[in-house]
Protein backbone atom coordinates (compact mmCIF):
# COMPACT_ATOMS: atom_id res chain seq x y z
CA UNK A 1 0.00 0.00 0.00
CA UNK A 2 1.12 3.56 -0.64
CA UNK A 3 2.32 5.76 2.19
CA UNK A 4 -0.74 6.89 4.16
CA UNK A 5 -1.45 10.62 3.92
CA UNK A 6 -2.52 10.61 7.55
CA UNK A 7 -0.99 8.22 10.04
CA UNK A 8 -2.39 8.51 13.54
CA UNK A 9 -0.25 6.63 16.03
CA UNK A 10 -1.71 5.90 19.46
CA UNK A 11 -2.94 9.37 20.26
CA UNK A 12 -4.56 10.23 23.55
CA UNK A 13 -6.39 13.43 24.36
CA UNK A 14 -7.49 14.40 27.84
CA UNK A 15 -9.39 17.45 28.99
CA UNK A 16 -8.58 17.43 32.69
CA UNK A 17 -9.84 14.11 33.99
CA UNK A 18 -11.88 13.39 30.91
CA UNK A 19 -10.26 11.11 28.34
CA UNK A 20 -11.70 12.04 24.96
CA UNK A 21 -9.43 9.94 22.76
CA UNK A 22 -7.90 6.82 24.22
CA UNK A 23 -4.76 5.48 22.59
CA UNK A 24 -6.24 5.74 19.14
CA UNK A 25 -4.58 4.69 15.87
CA UNK A 26 -5.70 4.66 12.28
CA UNK A 27 -4.46 5.55 8.82
CA UNK A 28 -5.97 7.38 5.89
CA UNK A 29 -4.88 6.75 2.31
CA UNK A 30 -4.40 9.61 -0.18
CA UNK A 31 -7.70 10.46 -1.86
CA UNK A 32 -9.71 8.44 0.59
CA UNK A 33 -13.13 9.69 1.74
CA UNK A 34 -13.51 8.77 5.37
CA UNK A 35 -16.68 9.21 7.41
CA UNK A 36 -16.41 9.39 11.20
CA UNK A 37 -19.68 8.51 12.88
CA UNK A 38 -20.74 7.84 16.43
CA UNK A 39 -22.68 9.30 19.35
CA UNK A 40 -21.91 12.87 20.41
CA UNK A 41 -19.03 13.06 22.84
CA UNK A 42 -17.36 10.06 21.23
CA UNK A 43 -14.31 12.12 20.25
CA UNK A 44 -14.73 12.28 16.49
CA UNK A 45 -14.77 16.08 16.28
CA UNK A 46 -11.73 16.23 18.55
CA UNK A 47 -9.76 14.21 15.99
CA UNK A 48 -10.49 16.78 13.29
CA UNK A 49 -9.61 19.62 15.67
CA UNK A 50 -6.29 17.98 16.53
CA UNK A 51 -5.51 17.47 12.85
CA UNK A 52 -6.27 21.17 12.22
CA UNK A 53 -3.99 22.03 15.20
CA UNK A 54 -6.87 23.73 17.01
CA UNK A 55 -6.42 21.31 19.88
CA UNK A 56 -3.16 19.90 21.23
CA UNK A 57 -2.33 16.24 21.76
CA UNK A 58 -1.87 14.77 25.21
CA UNK A 59 0.31 11.98 23.84
CA UNK A 60 1.02 10.05 20.66
CA UNK A 61 2.11 11.07 17.18
CA UNK A 62 0.48 12.08 13.91
CA UNK A 63 2.25 11.87 10.56
CA UNK A 64 1.02 13.84 7.55
CA UNK A 65 2.63 12.54 4.36
CA UNK A 66 5.26 10.94 6.54
CA UNK A 67 6.04 14.15 8.39
CA UNK A 68 5.36 14.75 12.07
CA UNK A 69 2.46 17.16 12.64
CA UNK A 70 2.76 17.93 16.33
CA UNK A 71 6.47 17.21 16.68
CA UNK A 72 9.70 18.07 14.98
CA UNK A 73 13.21 16.82 15.03
CA UNK A 74 15.78 18.80 16.91
CA UNK A 75 19.26 17.49 17.56
CA UNK A 76 18.19 13.94 16.74
CA UNK A 77 15.27 14.07 19.16
CA UNK A 78 11.57 14.59 18.69
CA UNK A 79 10.39 17.75 20.43
CA UNK A 80 7.07 19.59 20.42
CA UNK A 81 6.52 21.47 17.17
CA UNK A 82 7.01 25.23 17.23
CA UNK A 83 4.72 27.73 15.53
CA UNK A 84 6.81 27.79 12.34
CA UNK A 85 6.55 24.02 11.95
CA UNK A 86 2.80 24.04 12.58
CA UNK A 87 2.44 26.86 10.06
CA UNK A 88 4.18 24.77 7.42
CA UNK A 89 2.15 21.66 8.20
CA UNK A 90 -1.18 23.54 8.15
CA UNK A 91 -0.68 24.28 4.46
CA UNK A 92 -1.75 20.74 3.69
CA UNK A 93 -4.98 20.86 5.69
CA UNK A 94 -8.22 22.81 5.41
CA UNK A 95 -11.32 22.73 7.56
CA UNK A 96 -15.02 23.56 7.29
CA UNK A 97 -16.86 24.21 10.54
CA UNK A 98 -20.34 23.40 11.80
CA UNK A 99 -21.09 27.08 12.36
CA UNK A 100 -19.43 28.32 9.13
CA UNK A 101 -17.27 30.93 10.94
CA UNK A 102 -17.30 33.24 7.94
CA UNK A 103 -15.82 36.68 8.55
CA UNK A 104 -18.90 38.89 8.92
CA UNK A 105 -17.11 42.18 8.18
CA UNK A 106 -15.87 40.99 4.80
CA UNK A 107 -17.72 40.32 1.57
CA UNK A 108 -18.08 36.80 0.22
CA UNK A 109 -15.25 37.43 -2.23
CA UNK A 110 -12.98 38.91 0.46
CA UNK A 111 -13.67 35.95 2.71
CA UNK A 112 -12.19 33.71 0.05
CA UNK A 113 -9.28 35.89 -1.11
CA UNK A 114 -8.05 36.91 2.36
CA UNK A 115 -6.02 33.82 3.20
CA UNK A 116 -4.42 33.23 -0.24
CA UNK A 117 -3.32 36.86 -0.28
CA UNK A 118 -1.96 36.86 3.26
CA UNK A 119 -0.51 33.38 3.63
CA UNK A 120 0.51 32.52 0.08
CA UNK A 121 1.15 36.08 -1.13
CA UNK A 122 -1.08 35.61 -4.18
CA UNK A 123 -1.62 38.96 -5.99
CA UNK A 124 -5.10 40.45 -5.52
CA UNK A 125 -6.32 39.96 -9.08
CA UNK A 126 -5.18 36.39 -9.30
CA UNK A 127 -6.74 35.59 -5.92
CA UNK A 128 -10.02 37.11 -7.10
CA UNK A 129 -10.01 35.12 -10.31
CA UNK A 130 -9.44 31.92 -8.42
CA UNK A 131 -12.13 32.88 -5.89
CA UNK A 132 -14.61 33.47 -8.69
CA UNK A 133 -13.89 30.01 -10.10
CA UNK A 134 -14.58 28.53 -6.70
CA UNK A 135 -17.76 30.59 -6.29
CA UNK A 136 -18.88 29.34 -9.68
CA UNK A 137 -18.25 25.82 -8.53
CA UNK A 138 -20.40 26.23 -5.42
CA UNK A 139 -22.99 28.16 -7.44
CA UNK A 140 -22.69 31.50 -5.67
CA UNK A 141 -20.87 33.75 -8.15
CA UNK A 142 -23.71 36.29 -7.99
CA UNK A 143 -23.23 36.71 -4.23
CA UNK A 144 -19.61 37.82 -4.40
CA UNK A 145 -20.20 41.34 -3.08
CA UNK A 146 -22.69 40.35 -0.38
CA UNK A 147 -21.85 40.18 3.30
CA UNK A 148 -22.33 36.76 4.94
CA UNK A 149 -25.21 38.11 7.07
CA UNK A 150 -27.41 38.27 3.99
CA UNK A 151 -26.85 34.62 3.00
CA UNK A 152 -28.82 31.53 4.00
CA UNK A 153 -27.11 28.86 6.09
CA UNK A 154 -26.58 26.63 3.09
CA UNK A 155 -25.06 29.48 1.12
CA UNK A 156 -22.79 30.38 4.04
CA UNK A 157 -21.53 26.85 4.24
CA UNK A 158 -20.86 26.71 0.51
CA UNK A 159 -18.83 29.93 0.80
CA UNK A 160 -16.95 28.40 3.73
CA UNK A 161 -16.10 25.39 1.59
CA UNK A 162 -14.86 27.67 -1.21
CA UNK A 163 -12.81 29.62 1.33
CA UNK A 164 -11.06 26.49 2.57
CA UNK A 165 -10.47 25.26 -0.99
CA UNK A 166 -8.78 28.53 -1.98
CA UNK A 167 -5.63 27.42 -0.16
CA UNK A 168 -5.63 24.15 -2.12
CA UNK A 169 -5.20 21.79 0.81
CA UNK A 170 -4.56 18.11 0.22
CA UNK A 171 -6.73 17.15 3.16
CA UNK A 172 -10.14 18.64 3.89
CA UNK A 173 -11.85 18.22 7.24
CA UNK A 174 -15.63 18.64 7.43
CA UNK A 175 -16.89 18.99 10.98
CA UNK A 176 -20.65 18.37 11.06
CA UNK A 177 -21.03 20.85 8.25
CA UNK A 178 -24.77 20.32 7.83
CA UNK A 179 -25.75 20.04 11.51
CA UNK A 180 -26.57 23.73 11.89
CA UNK A 181 -28.63 23.88 8.71
CA UNK A 182 -32.38 23.80 8.18
CA UNK A 183 -33.27 20.41 6.66
CA UNK A 184 -34.14 21.83 3.25
CA UNK A 185 -30.67 23.42 2.97
CA UNK A 186 -28.68 20.27 3.69
CA UNK A 187 -28.73 18.92 0.16
CA UNK A 188 -27.12 21.92 -1.52
CA UNK A 189 -24.10 21.54 0.78
CA UNK A 190 -23.88 17.79 0.38
CA UNK A 191 -24.02 18.07 -3.39
CA UNK A 192 -21.03 20.45 -3.34
CA UNK A 193 -19.15 17.90 -1.27
CA UNK A 194 -20.17 15.11 -3.60
CA UNK A 195 -18.91 17.13 -6.54
CA UNK A 196 -15.61 17.72 -4.74
CA UNK A 197 -15.30 14.01 -4.14
CA UNK A 198 -15.86 13.26 -7.80
CA UNK A 199 -13.78 16.00 -9.39
CA UNK A 200 -10.75 16.08 -7.11
CA UNK A 201 -8.48 13.54 -5.52
CA UNK A 202 -8.55 15.40 -2.24
CA UNK A 203 -8.50 13.39 0.95
CA UNK A 204 -11.70 14.10 2.84
CA UNK A 205 -12.53 13.37 6.46
CA UNK A 206 -16.05 14.07 7.56
CA UNK A 207 -17.70 13.94 10.92
CA UNK A 208 -21.37 13.63 10.14
CA UNK A 209 -24.80 12.65 11.34
CA UNK A 210 -26.07 12.33 7.76
CA UNK A 211 -25.99 8.55 7.61
CA UNK A 212 -27.40 8.40 4.09
CA UNK A 213 -24.66 10.65 2.81
CA UNK A 214 -21.92 8.80 4.69
CA UNK A 215 -23.21 5.60 3.22
CA UNK A 216 -23.01 6.54 -0.43
CA UNK A 217 -20.15 9.00 -0.27
CA UNK A 218 -17.50 7.48 1.98
CA UNK A 219 -14.98 4.85 0.98
CA UNK A 220 -14.70 3.80 4.60
CA UNK A 221 -16.61 4.44 7.80
CA UNK A 222 -15.18 4.59 11.31
CA UNK A 223 -17.61 4.11 14.17
CA UNK A 224 -16.50 5.81 17.39
CA UNK A 225 -17.61 5.45 20.94
CA UNK A 226 -15.96 6.85 24.07
CA UNK A 227 -12.71 7.72 22.30
CA UNK A 228 -12.27 4.29 20.73
CA UNK A 229 -12.82 3.01 17.22
CA UNK A 230 -15.41 0.30 17.75
CA UNK A 231 -15.68 -0.77 14.16
CA UNK A 232 -14.37 0.26 10.77
CA UNK A 233 -15.00 -0.85 7.24
CA UNK A 234 -16.69 -0.07 3.93
CA UNK A 235 -20.09 1.62 4.33
CA UNK A 236 -22.10 -1.40 3.09
CA UNK A 237 -20.62 -3.50 5.84
CA UNK A 238 -21.05 -0.95 8.64
CA UNK A 239 -24.55 0.03 7.67
CA UNK A 240 -26.03 -3.30 6.60
CA UNK A 241 -24.09 -5.79 8.60
CA UNK A 242 -22.39 -4.21 11.63
CA UNK A 243 -20.56 -6.72 13.77
CA UNK A 244 -20.49 -4.86 17.04
CA UNK A 245 -23.47 -4.54 19.32
CA UNK A 246 -22.72 -0.86 19.99
CA UNK A 247 -22.66 -0.04 16.29
CA UNK A 248 -25.95 -1.83 15.80
CA UNK A 249 -27.71 -0.01 18.61
CA UNK A 250 -26.33 3.38 17.50
CA UNK A 251 -27.47 2.84 13.92
CA UNK A 252 -30.89 1.63 15.05
CA UNK A 253 -31.32 4.83 17.03
CA UNK A 254 -30.17 7.31 14.38
CA UNK A 255 -31.81 5.56 11.47
CA UNK A 256 -35.20 5.35 13.15
CA UNK A 257 -34.86 8.99 14.25
CA UNK A 258 -34.03 9.92 10.67
CA UNK A 259 -37.02 7.97 9.39
CA UNK A 260 -39.34 9.72 11.85
CA UNK A 261 -38.00 13.07 10.72
CA UNK A 262 -38.49 12.19 7.05
CA UNK A 263 -42.02 10.99 7.70
CA UNK A 264 -42.84 14.16 9.58
CA UNK A 265 -41.52 16.23 6.69
CA UNK A 266 -43.46 14.17 4.18
CA UNK A 267 -46.59 14.63 6.28
CA UNK A 268 -46.10 18.40 6.28
CA UNK A 269 -45.64 18.44 2.54
Amino acid sequence: MAQPIIDIQSITKRFGDLTVLDNLSFQVQPGEKLALIGPSGSGKTTILRILMTLETLTSGHILIEGEQLWHMEKGGELVDADEAHLHKMREKIGMVFQHFNLFPHKTVLENITLAPRLTLGVPAREAEQRAMELLDMVGLADKKDDKPASLSGGQKQRVAIARALALEPKIMLFDEVTSALDPELVDEVLSVMRQLGEETDMTMLLVTHEMGFARDFADRVLFFDHGHIIESGPPEQIFTNPEEERTQSFLRKVLSAGKRKAEKQAAVL
Binding site: M52, T53, L54, R90, M95, N101, F103, H105, K147, A149
Partner: protein, 218 residues
Protein backbone atom coordinates in the same frame (compact mmCIF):
# COMPACT_ATOMS: atom_id res chain seq x y z
CA UNK B 1 -23.17 94.02 25.22
CA UNK B 2 -19.92 95.16 23.66
CA UNK B 3 -18.18 94.25 26.85
CA UNK B 4 -19.69 90.77 26.94
CA UNK B 5 -18.40 90.08 23.43
CA UNK B 6 -14.89 90.81 24.63
CA UNK B 7 -15.30 88.40 27.50
CA UNK B 8 -16.88 85.81 25.23
CA UNK B 9 -13.81 85.99 23.05
CA UNK B 10 -11.69 85.25 26.10
CA UNK B 11 -13.76 82.17 26.85
CA UNK B 12 -13.61 81.05 23.22
CA UNK B 13 -9.82 81.27 23.36
CA UNK B 14 -10.06 78.91 26.30
CA UNK B 15 -12.38 76.67 24.29
CA UNK B 16 -9.71 76.33 21.61
CA UNK B 17 -7.26 75.10 24.22
CA UNK B 18 -9.87 72.72 25.63
CA UNK B 19 -10.43 71.26 22.15
CA UNK B 20 -6.69 70.90 21.59
CA UNK B 21 -6.27 69.11 24.90
CA UNK B 22 -9.22 66.86 24.10
CA UNK B 23 -7.99 65.93 20.64
CA UNK B 24 -4.39 65.26 21.65
CA UNK B 25 -5.45 63.61 24.90
CA UNK B 26 -7.78 61.29 22.99
CA UNK B 27 -5.06 60.48 20.47
CA UNK B 28 -2.68 59.48 23.28
CA UNK B 29 -5.45 57.62 25.13
CA UNK B 30 -6.36 55.66 22.00
CA UNK B 31 -2.74 54.74 21.41
CA UNK B 32 -2.23 53.66 25.02
CA UNK B 33 -5.54 51.76 25.05
CA UNK B 34 -4.48 49.57 22.13
CA UNK B 35 -0.87 49.13 23.26
CA UNK B 36 -1.79 48.24 26.85
CA UNK B 37 -4.97 46.36 25.94
CA UNK B 38 -3.17 44.09 23.47
CA UNK B 39 -0.12 43.74 25.71
CA UNK B 40 -2.42 42.55 28.47
CA UNK B 41 -3.34 39.55 26.32
CA UNK B 42 0.22 38.90 25.13
CA UNK B 43 1.77 35.48 25.56
CA UNK B 44 4.81 37.21 27.03
CA UNK B 45 4.47 37.52 30.80
CA UNK B 46 6.61 40.62 31.06
CA UNK B 47 4.33 42.53 28.67
CA UNK B 48 1.27 41.42 30.63
CA UNK B 49 2.81 42.59 33.88
CA UNK B 50 3.82 45.98 32.44
CA UNK B 51 0.37 46.53 30.97
CA UNK B 52 -1.44 45.49 34.14
CA UNK B 53 0.75 47.75 36.26
CA UNK B 54 0.06 50.71 33.99
CA UNK B 55 -3.68 50.07 33.92
CA UNK B 56 -4.07 49.54 37.66
CA UNK B 57 -1.87 52.50 38.55
CA UNK B 58 -3.66 55.02 36.35
CA UNK B 59 -7.12 53.74 37.20
CA UNK B 60 -6.32 53.56 40.89
CA UNK B 61 -5.02 57.10 41.44
CA UNK B 62 -6.82 60.34 40.78
CA UNK B 63 -6.23 62.32 37.61
CA UNK B 64 -5.71 65.35 39.82
CA UNK B 65 -2.68 63.73 41.47
CA UNK B 66 -1.41 62.43 38.12
CA UNK B 67 -1.52 65.94 36.69
CA UNK B 68 0.46 67.35 39.58
CA UNK B 69 3.02 64.61 39.21
CA UNK B 70 3.40 65.28 35.52
CA UNK B 71 3.74 68.99 36.06
CA UNK B 72 5.70 69.29 39.31
CA UNK B 73 7.54 66.02 39.81
CA UNK B 74 8.79 65.16 36.31
CA UNK B 75 10.82 68.41 36.16
CA UNK B 76 12.49 67.39 39.43
CA UNK B 77 13.56 64.19 37.70
CA UNK B 78 15.17 66.32 35.00
CA UNK B 79 12.31 66.05 32.53
CA UNK B 80 10.98 69.53 31.82
CA UNK B 81 7.31 69.57 30.82
CA UNK B 82 5.18 72.48 29.75
CA UNK B 83 1.75 72.75 31.37
CA UNK B 84 0.16 71.80 28.06
CA UNK B 85 2.26 68.64 27.69
CA UNK B 86 1.62 67.76 31.33
CA UNK B 87 -2.10 68.12 30.68
CA UNK B 88 -2.08 65.93 27.59
CA UNK B 89 0.06 63.31 29.36
CA UNK B 90 -2.16 63.10 32.43
CA UNK B 91 -5.40 63.02 30.44
CA UNK B 92 -4.16 60.60 27.79
CA UNK B 93 -2.51 58.16 30.19
CA UNK B 94 -5.46 58.23 32.58
CA UNK B 95 -8.19 57.65 30.00
CA UNK B 96 -5.92 55.24 28.07
CA UNK B 97 -5.88 52.96 31.14
CA UNK B 98 -9.67 52.70 31.05
CA UNK B 99 -9.57 52.27 27.27
CA UNK B 100 -7.13 49.37 27.58
CA UNK B 101 -9.74 47.36 29.44
CA UNK B 102 -12.28 48.25 26.76
CA UNK B 103 -9.91 46.96 24.06
CA UNK B 104 -9.28 43.75 25.96
CA UNK B 105 -12.96 43.15 26.66
CA UNK B 106 -13.95 43.78 23.05
CA UNK B 107 -11.26 41.51 21.62
CA UNK B 108 -12.25 38.73 24.01
CA UNK B 109 -15.92 39.15 23.13
CA UNK B 110 -15.36 38.10 19.52
CA UNK B 111 -16.57 34.56 18.88
CA UNK B 112 -13.76 32.05 19.21
CA UNK B 113 -14.86 30.44 15.94
CA UNK B 114 -13.47 33.51 14.19
CA UNK B 115 -10.02 32.89 15.61
CA UNK B 116 -10.25 29.20 14.76
CA UNK B 117 -11.28 29.94 11.18
CA UNK B 118 -8.28 32.25 10.89
CA UNK B 119 -5.99 29.56 12.25
CA UNK B 120 -7.45 26.94 9.90
CA UNK B 121 -6.66 29.34 7.05
CA UNK B 122 -3.10 29.42 8.34
CA UNK B 123 -3.06 33.11 9.22
CA UNK B 124 -0.43 34.17 11.75
CA UNK B 125 -1.56 35.43 15.17
CA UNK B 126 -0.92 39.02 14.12
CA UNK B 127 -2.78 38.60 10.81
CA UNK B 128 -5.73 37.13 12.69
CA UNK B 129 -5.74 40.08 15.07
CA UNK B 130 -5.30 42.68 12.35
CA UNK B 131 -7.67 41.36 9.67
CA UNK B 132 -10.25 39.33 11.57
CA UNK B 133 -10.52 40.17 15.26
CA UNK B 134 -9.80 43.90 15.49
CA UNK B 135 -12.11 45.04 12.65
CA UNK B 136 -14.97 43.35 14.51
CA UNK B 137 -13.79 44.31 18.00
CA UNK B 138 -13.49 48.01 17.13
CA UNK B 139 -17.23 48.15 16.56
CA UNK B 140 -17.74 46.77 20.06
CA UNK B 141 -15.28 49.31 21.49
CA UNK B 142 -16.72 52.40 19.85
CA UNK B 143 -19.67 53.21 22.14
CA UNK B 144 -17.47 52.96 25.24
CA UNK B 145 -14.68 54.89 23.52
CA UNK B 146 -17.25 57.62 22.90
CA UNK B 147 -18.02 57.73 26.62
CA UNK B 148 -14.33 57.80 27.44
CA UNK B 149 -13.72 60.69 25.04
CA UNK B 150 -16.48 62.70 26.68
CA UNK B 151 -15.06 61.87 30.12
CA UNK B 152 -11.71 63.13 28.86
CA UNK B 153 -13.27 66.34 27.58
CA UNK B 154 -14.79 67.00 30.98
CA UNK B 155 -11.52 66.03 32.63
CA UNK B 156 -9.70 68.80 30.77
CA UNK B 157 -11.10 71.25 33.33
CA UNK B 158 -8.58 70.04 35.91
CA UNK B 159 -5.71 71.55 33.90
CA UNK B 160 -6.81 74.97 35.04
CA UNK B 161 -5.21 73.91 38.33
CA UNK B 162 -1.76 74.12 36.76
CA UNK B 163 -2.60 77.53 35.33
CA UNK B 164 -3.45 76.41 31.81
CA UNK B 165 -5.95 78.87 30.34
CA UNK B 166 -8.62 76.42 29.21
CA UNK B 167 -12.32 77.15 29.03
CA UNK B 168 -12.95 76.66 32.74
CA UNK B 169 -9.92 78.78 33.69
CA UNK B 170 -11.06 81.60 31.43
CA UNK B 171 -14.56 81.60 32.81
CA UNK B 172 -13.12 81.96 36.31
CA UNK B 173 -11.16 84.96 35.03
CA UNK B 174 -14.28 86.49 33.54
CA UNK B 175 -16.18 85.88 36.74
CA UNK B 176 -13.46 87.56 38.79
CA UNK B 177 -13.39 90.58 36.51
CA UNK B 178 -17.12 91.08 36.02
CA UNK B 179 -18.56 89.68 39.19
CA UNK B 180 -21.08 87.85 37.04
CA UNK B 181 -21.31 84.13 37.60
CA UNK B 182 -24.24 83.22 35.39
CA UNK B 183 -22.92 84.49 32.07
CA UNK B 184 -19.48 82.80 31.99
CA UNK B 185 -20.68 79.54 33.46
CA UNK B 186 -23.73 79.37 31.26
CA UNK B 187 -21.44 79.97 28.29
CA UNK B 188 -19.06 77.14 29.13
CA UNK B 189 -21.96 74.86 29.99
CA UNK B 190 -23.25 75.30 26.45
CA UNK B 191 -19.76 74.95 24.98
CA UNK B 192 -18.91 71.72 26.84
CA UNK B 193 -22.24 70.31 25.78
CA UNK B 194 -21.67 71.30 22.15
CA UNK B 195 -18.23 69.68 22.03
CA UNK B 196 -19.61 66.54 23.67
CA UNK B 197 -22.33 66.41 21.02
CA UNK B 198 -19.72 66.60 18.29
CA UNK B 199 -17.88 63.67 19.86
CA UNK B 200 -20.93 61.46 20.26
CA UNK B 201 -22.22 62.23 16.76
CA UNK B 202 -18.84 61.39 15.26
CA UNK B 203 -18.66 58.11 17.17
CA UNK B 204 -22.18 57.15 16.18
CA UNK B 205 -21.46 57.82 12.51
CA UNK B 206 -18.30 55.71 12.68
CA UNK B 207 -20.22 52.97 14.41
CA UNK B 208 -22.83 52.86 11.67
CA UNK B 209 -20.23 52.80 8.97
CA UNK B 210 -18.13 50.04 10.53
CA UNK B 211 -20.90 47.76 11.73
CA UNK B 212 -22.20 46.91 8.24
CA UNK B 213 -22.79 43.17 8.18
CA UNK B 214 -22.05 42.67 11.89
CA UNK B 215 -24.80 41.90 14.31
CA UNK B 216 -23.12 43.46 17.36
CA UNK B 217 -24.95 46.77 17.09
CA UNK B 218 -28.35 46.91 15.58
Amino acid sequence: MQQWLGYLELILDGAVLTVQLTVLGCALALFMAFVAGLARMSKFRILRILATTYIEFFRGTSIFVQLFWAYFVLPLAGIPVSPFIAGVLALGLNVGAYGAEVVRGAVQSIDKGQKEAGLALNLTPWQRMRHIILPQAVVVMLPTFGNNAIELLKGTAVVSLISLADMTFQSQVVRAQTGSTAMPFLTILVLYFAIAMVISTTVRTLEKRLSDGLDVTK
